[in-house]
Symmetry: C2
DNA sequence: CCTGGCACTCGACTGTAGCGAGTGCCAGTC
DNA sequence: GACTGGCACTCGCTACAGTCGAGTGCCAGG
């Protein structure tokens, strides 16, 4: 049952060749391109074992071998070493991210950069509000009964929302409201605000009570519960590389999945630490993505994680390079955020 | 040279059948499915003329006829009547857009709605800043040398940008700056602000001058010149309907074009009046979209235009329905904006 | 001017044959 | 016992020939 070193070397060679050529690889080609030191016949025997164990399979009886999801998994876990990035690549990353003026700008640049470097579909989650703290809350009167609520988070995210007041609200009251919410909420994590917001309503004087209640409900609903997460996407055109051979002919399910924000969040949003996460083919919980692999990680200033980013591509992707790139980009973005 | 009524009827029938079946249509099938009142042979003669004039063509010698871009053009201009929407569709639009709380929300709902109704790729431009007026400018101190500039436009758009001050700036000065910029700029169209912003710098006292200059440059750069436009996109998965027959086999160029914001703006952003614009195949200036058609229009409150929206699909799309849907959605969105 | 009839074209499909990459197995060797 | 060379076998791919049928263009006649 144990796979000896040579069998592992054969598996590694198969994965590498298949990723490079995109064609089933046979025993002869394998010994020619790699220094295995044995004959094709021997390799065939090893292949038979690997196939029995479910690491590779034959598309048809008389074809070469192709790695299975399980084979890629073993390859990623034990047979590959993350390729260090070239200095040129590092410089490219740095240069690309340096000019960013804005959180929006950072995210957009990052997602395009990732797509370009990996030649895959890139996904970047904006810093999660749940992991952010309130830096400032601003109330801007729009009309006598309307306020614009603007929340600025420490991660740079800015969210706004229109608040429809139950009654016309004088300028002085706006000032009071602004002072009160800021006093209570600034520097608290968004995830911890709900009780504080509730307390605000309870503590405020009866004249401000209705206004504060409205404000509070908007705050809770918009900033804490609803669509708090944002996602940026790039590189969908890369799905068409490898001319429909990847993804078994149909991009449909993939494109559909990429349109669902919830799905994307599931893909890259569930990060607690800054470890790399690789999900290969079947390992994906989302049915539409059974033919794809996802490489993702968390990012944030220092050791803190504020969001996730990653790429999606065919199972036959170059895992070592992709992992290296995703990790490097996540690190640079984290550094960038730390500077603010 | 003039095409008589029957030839036009034949062309219309060809377009309708081809759009419905996606297969070249022959003379026999045509007389069977439409009441043309003549024999296949006669239709063949008409077809020969239509082909000579470039309205239809044969994929191969012994196949039926397919409309050319020119044929679709004639069809759209003279042979089709915009289908009125069903009450059910109207209700769907209304219901879908009703719950929107936010400009962001409106735009997102709109683009998804359009994609769903037309079963095509939908594109919606956020209200253009160039066509918006300033409703309010807010300055929020982030640190002693940093301000967050928040601009709220009358169209509901909110833009923010970090301003790095040359020197620490006291709270009183922030108040002064806020008052000054609001006094001068509120209610002016964004496109008319540059001279006013310049004037602000010139008029302000020497103590505020450096701060105001910095603020002014950020204002000009961010809000007037740079990436002032935003775009939302949905329904890319619809490109895969019609199994690669549309778009002559490769989605690549289409997906690439859709990733370029500039391209999208060119597609739907150049609207002056609220007329429908239909660009068919070759008529598109963008090379990548030579195999696609774009139906777009402007939208805005009342008769004003603040942005564009539309859909993109294969040249063999159902133009009458698509045009009707795009128009209806644009109208509803305009009404929605007018209410704010 | 329209129509029925007819010869013609040509793509789609089917069946056959040959090729070649690749395998599994086995007997022989180190 | 592990490796190797040899060999028979499988099977997808390509080429080729033949058939079918949808559709056309043209022409003579109403």
């Amino acid at each position: 049952m144990g796979l000896d070193d040579r069998k592992l070397a054969v598996l590694r060679a198969i994965v590498e060749d298949y990723v490079a050529t995109q064609e089933p690889v046979g025993s002869r080609a394998l010994v020619e391109r790699h220094q295995l030191g044995v004959s094709p016949a021997t390799v065939r025997n090893d292949m038979a074992v690997l196939e029995e164990e479910g690491y590779i399979r034959q598309p048809h009886t008389s074809a070469g071998r192709v790695p299975t999801d399980r084979g890629y998994r073993l390859f990623v876990d034990r047979l590959s070493r993350v390729k260090p990035l070239s200095p040129a690549e590092r410089r490219a990353i740095e240069r690309f991210l340096l000019g960013a003026v804005d959180l929006d700008d950072v995210v957009h640049r990052t997602v395009r950069l990732l797509a370009q470097l990996t030649r895959q579909v890139a996904v970047v989650q904006y810093p999660s509000l749940a992991r952010s703290s309130v830096r400032h809350l601003e109330l801007v009167p729009i009309s006598t009964t309307r306020l614009m609520l603007v929340m600025i988070a420490d991660t740079g995210r800015v969210e706004q929302r229109l608040v429809e007041m139950p009654a016309p609200i004088p300028a002085d009251d706006v000032t009071d409201l602004r002072r009160l919410v800021n006093e209570k909420l600034v520097d608290t994590r968004l995830s911890e605000t709900p009780p504080l917001v509730q307390a605000l309503v309870d503590e405020v004087g009866p004249d401000l009570r209705p206004a504060m209640a409205t404000l509070a409900s908007v705050l809770l609903e918009t900033l804490v519960e609803r669509h708090e997460e944002r996602i940026a996407l790039a590189g969908t055109a890369n799905l068409t590389r490898g001319g429909l051979l990847d993804f078994q002919g149909s991009l449909r399910p993939i494109l559909e999945a990429l349109e669902e924000e919830v799905v994307l969040l599931k893909l890259i949003g569930e990060v607690e630490e800054s470890t790399m996460r690789v999900r290969i083919g079947d390992e994906n919980e989302i049915d539409n993505l059974r033919a794809a692999s996802v490489v993702s990680t968390g990012y944030g200033p220092g050791s803190m994680i504020v969001g996730g980013l990653g790429v999606l591509g065919p199972t036959r992707m170059d895992y070592p390079s992709t992992i290296a790139t995703v990790r490097a980009v996540a690190r640079y973005v984290g550094d960038l955020l730390a500077q603010n």
